[in-house]
């Protein structure tokens, strides 16, 4: 994918990221973010969640990886995510993205991003600014 291939309104391919317990646990260890609500379903229930939840900062990382797969070699200049609701560990979540603006001067695009929970709720929304190489 190069800048000339991108059109306003393009959708990024939908993806279903791995939010299984082993992967979320690995993320939490890398992030030094090991809290029971992320890595233990029962402990999360005691805190009032339906089950363990995906860390918000991991959901942002999942979206960044999706952008890199869509446009290999691109550079994410900014990514802004709003955590609207819990995404559950070991559930089926869907990531989406769409091109909302293009700037030919600096070969950059703006994206709208979202992660939809298994029950249809929108768990995360966001935007990103991405630049392409010449």
């Amino acid at each position: 994918m190069q800048f000339r291939d991108v059109e306003l309104g393009d959708d990024l391919p939908e993806e279903t990221p791995d939010v299984s317990m082993p992967t979320v646990t690995a993320f939490c260890e890398a992030a030094k973010h090991v809290f029971e609500r992320f890595i233990d379903h029962e402990a999360a229930r005691k805190e009032g969640f339906p089950s363990a939840i995906v860390p918000g900062i991991m959901s942002q990382g999942l979206l960044a990886a999706m952008i890199h797969r869509w446009a290999p070699g691109c550079t994410i200049r900014e990514i802004d995510t709003v955590f609207r609701g819990a995404l559950l560990v070991d559930s089926h979540v869907t990531m989406t993205g769409a091109v909302t603006d293009l700037n030919e001067d600096d070969l950059s695009v703006e994206l709208d991003l979202a992660i939809i929970a298994e029950d249809g709720r929108t768990g995360v929304i966001g935007t990103a600014q991405v630049t392409f190489e010449q």
Binding site: A26, G56, D80
Partner: protein
Amino acid sequence: MDKPDLNLAAIRDQWVGVEFDWTTFEMTAPNMVAWAVACGEMDPRFIDPTHADFQAHPGFTTHCMSGRVFPKDFPQIGGGFGVDGGKKVEVHAPIRAGDTLTATTTIADIFDKTGRSGTMIFIVQRMEFRNESGHLVSTVDWKMIKKAD
């Protein structure tokens, strides 16, 4: 009864822009790789430490927490500790393995919004990360949301 925005205006004037924490963080290749792999990253720039352009994933600095959440003597506004409303990351330059980053923390903004669930107060904590050369490499804005009453 005072309107929350009247109080917030004074608090904003006093606290926005105040620096209140300075912390250093070591960037290590194993943690950088583990983070990116767990996020499903496949680009070798982020998962292969031998790659010529190996660097941290864009949001890697979001896990770096300042020593304090609020400045000393910051007023109690809103209820409870608050919830994580989201993060914005600006990537200014690549972060390399072995970098020692110095983060400066400020209160970047304070505002409120009113919706169906009432008035919510947003407190934006900003961390700016600089490498050993003093170059700004990353800015993270953390939006903390608290109920107004």
